[in-house]
């Protein structure tokens, strides 16, 4: 995909994401989960959290935050503008004490998108603008890179073309506990408008490689295979072995099972099933390890962030995040079991504690202890859930 197409695709997806304002209706009978919120991270005086795109903990309870902060900068070389900076990665200990910064001035830190810690306590950073996935070991050394940052940027980027209309209601959405309300006209209207990458393949299918276009999240199966949600510009899941060798990718832009509109989060359960937050299509899709569609959950609104708990009985937390343009819709987080059954919900959109303002990241390593990172309000909340039993 060319620079121009890439910028266009990213712009379109962002516009579409901003326009996706759909209320979740008919959530009658979903229990409210009581919870408390705390703000335990103690920041050095000269460091300020910006948009908290990614937050995750490691096995020791250390907390990592990948944030959009500082000054995203464009410099001019020959005739080409070069993008630098705009995001930073910080580590805190379990008490919230600041430990250190990791990856200072990294070439790949432009627009923070997500952060995850793998079972070996490696720290994985996903950057949307550099289209890179960066693996740090627990000492903060880079161990592996997926994707490559564009050498230069195109400024001004081309203006987005009007989104092509998506055939509304083109598929049956009524069955299987589809409580997420009717398809809004503006939802995921970016489908089919994004140019086909390099003139081959289906729209959003991307290249059969680790060339990403606005990746959003990363996950691993028990064998250490790496799955990348890709993402904003593309609409696919890419799978690599534990050494980063490309295995396969699946998906393209669209509404059908196995197709995506801004796959925004990914998680893998103990059986190796792959859960994808297909936010533009307002569903969670479930695949086997080879990308075969298994089922979908239509009852969680616009899933922007998701987290899968550990332990013998696993649950999913899914955020129906509000769009940046509106504080008066959505915002709640759902707890569902792996059959898609709603267990409970909590929170709403807002800037106060116990409210969420464009939640983008959830960490759920410890039962009933969640870390939530938000883009709209510049904060990380630590939640203590108080389930009924």
């Amino acid at each position: 995909m060319t620079q121009r197409q890439k910028a266009l695709a990213i712009a379109l997806a962002l516009v579409a994401a901003a326009a996706t304002v759909v209320r979740v209706t008919a959530q009658f009978g979903v229990p409210e989960i009581a919870f408390d919120s705390a703000d335990p991270l103690k920041w050095p005086a000269n460091i300020h959290l910006g948009e908290a795109a990614g937050v995750a903990t490691n096995s020791k309870g250390d907390v990592f935050v990948y944030t959009r902060t500082g000054h995203p900068t464009m410099t001019f070389g020959t005739a080409r503008p070069f993008a630098h900076g705009g995001s930073r990665l910080f580590q805190f200990d379990r008490t919230g004490k600041f430990v250190r910064e990791i990856g200072q001035d990294s070439y790949g830190f432009l627009v923070a998108q997500q952060l995850r810690v793998d079972p070996q306590d490696n720290i994985w950073v996903v950057d949307q603008m550099s289209s890179m996935v960066i693996k740090f070991d627990q000492n903060g050394q880079i161990q592996m890179l997926l994707g490559r940052k564009s050498e230069s940027e195109r400024v001004p980027a081309v203006a987005p073309v009007p989104p092509a209309a998506v055939a509304a209601g083109g598929e049956g959405r009524g069955g299987g506990g589809a409580a997420a309300g009717g398809r809004g006209g503006g939802a995921a209207a970016d489908a089919e408008a994004v140019p086909v990458g390099r003139g081959r393949g289906a729209p959003g299918a991307g290249a059969q490689s680790d060339v990403f276009n606005g990746p959003t999240d990363v996950a691993w199966d028990a064998a250490g295979n790496i799955y990348v949600a890709d993402g904003v510009g593309n609409a696919r899941i890419a799978k690599f072995d534990k050494n980063g060798k490309f295995i396969r990718s699946w998906g393209q832009r669209g509404l059908q099972p196995g197709q995506f509109n801004t796959p925004h989060g990914i998680a893998i359960d103990a059986q190796g099933l792959v859960y994808v937050a297909d936010s533009g299509n307002r569903r969670v899709q479930v695949f086997d390890a080879d990308g075969n569609f298994k089922t979908q959950f239509l009852n969680v609104g616009t899933p922007a962030a998701l987290c899968l708990t550990r332990g013998s009985r696993q649950f999913l937390y899914v955020s129906n995040s509000n769009p940046p343009t509106d504080l008066d819709v959505n915002g709640e987080i759902y707890k569902i079991d792996l059959s898609g059954k709603l267990i409970g919900r909590f929170g709403r959109a807002g800037k106060l504690p116990k409210e969420f303002d464009v939640a983008n990241a959830i960490d759920c390593r410890v039962d009933n202890e969640l870390w939530v990172g938000e883009l709209g309000s510049w904060r990380v909340q630590k939640l203590a859930l108080r389930p009924p039993n």
């Binding site: 000269n46 300020h48 910006g50 902060t69 464009m74 432009l110 980027a157 987005p160 504080l327 008066d328």
Partner: protein
């Protein structure tokens, strides 16, 4: 004269005519108010003591807190926010490297001594607590990729509740409701509750010159009754609204209202600056540059200051602080400085009685 040269000359003439009439000339207005008493003042010399190696750029915002500390929001290589004590000694920098700082426009301190910075480059209003930590933000900085897009052509999109278009200023009523003037892209004033939830707005994404419309709302202040005073800059007027943003009055005898300030205390005063426009166009220094002191009802009490690059004069006043109505801080765009003016209002009274 060869035809081509003639055509070029006439084109040049037209262009210069357009330039003179369209750019700085429209941005200034001689105040209609006549025979306004001059209020004498002194400017405190060497007010801000900058540490070695630290410089002010364009001084966009100035505000004081309850202890008299002075906050200055400036466009340096990066936009930066500095704090000085009441004597002008440097205390600290706030929001160093913040994602919200790109192009300074205004800083204000609320009654609880929280510091609010308005940045028209990131489209954000950023609230710092007195300790200097960010505790709330309004608006959203467009992500870097989106920021590289060309400005869309055609009519502006409808103003959103929670995103801002080059906002200019912020104020609060006694209940803590937040008012934002917004701005260069939108032309409206938005009221949020104290938790940042949208309540209502006046104006829209489109400029207009009718009552309750704006053309570049450039500053605002709120009195203890909750009335909102808006510097409607390009319309060369100030508009006054009640707490529900219903129009109460228009003051149009004060030239171009660039910035407004309302002093606290039992008897509140209103200040507005008819700043000389950027660029020092012909005639601008003669016709503009003064600040007016008024009653809240619009009665003009006096005027002070004049356009000048010299110390004591003003070179494009961008913002005022009037916590003490006899000690006015002014931030100037083009002289990169902040002055503290000690007014002598009694002397003005004598002068006007002569």
């Amino acid at each position: 004269m060869p035809a081509l040269l003639r055509r070029a000359c006439s084109l040049l003439f037209v262009l210069s005519f357009v330039a003179l009439n369209a750019s700085p000339a429209l941005a200034q207005a001689k105040a209609k108010a006549q025979n306004v008493p001059e209020i004498p003042y002194d400017s405190v010399p060497n007010l801000l003591k900058m540490p070695p190696g630290l410089y002010l750029g364009e001084a966009m915002g100035v505000a004081t807190n309850s202890k008299g500390h002075i906050f200055v929001f400036t466009r340096s290589a990066n936009t930066r926010l500095f704090e000085f004590d009441e004597k002008g000694n440097y205390v600290r920098e706030l929001g160093e490297g913040s994602y919200g700082f790109e192009f300074a426009h205004s800083v204000r301190v609320d009654p609880q001594d929280n510091i609010w910075a308005v940045d028209e480059g990131t489209n954000m209003v950023i609230k710092f607590n007195p300790e200097g930590r960010i505790v709330m933000v309004l608006g959203r900085r467009p992500p870097a990729a989106l920021g590289m897009l060309q400005s869309p052509s055609g009519p502006p999109p409808p103003a959103e509740k929670y995103t801002l278009g080059r906002p200019t200023d912020v104020g609060w009523d006694p209940q803590g409701n937040i008012f934002v003037s917004d701005g260069y892209v939108n032309h409206r004033v938005v009221k949020y509750d104290k938790n940042g939830r949208f309540l209502r707005q006046v104006g829209s994404e489109r400029p207009g010159s009718e009552p309750s419309q704006f053309n570049l709302p450039h500053g605002l202040a709120v009195d203890l009754q909750g009335n909102v005073y808006v510097a409607d800059r390009t319309n060369n007027r100030m508009q006054v609204f009640d707490n529900n943003l219903v129009l109460r009055a228009i003051y149009d005898n004060i030239g171009t209202s660039w910035s407004v300030c309302v002093s606290p205390g039992p008897h509140q005063y209103l200040f507005t600056s008819n700043s000389n426009p950027n660029g020092n166009g012909p005639g601008t220094w003669e016709n503009t540059g003064e600040i007016y002191k008024m009653e809240l009802d619009g009665t003009i009490l006096g005027r002070f200051g004049h356009a000048s690059k010299e110390f004591g004069g003003f070179q494009v006043v961008h913002m005022m602080d009037c916590r003490n109505p006899d000690q006015i801080f002014v931030a100037e765009i083009e002289s990169w400085r902040v002055q503290k003016l000690m007014l002598k209002p009694q002397a003005a009274k004598v002068a006007s009685n002569k």
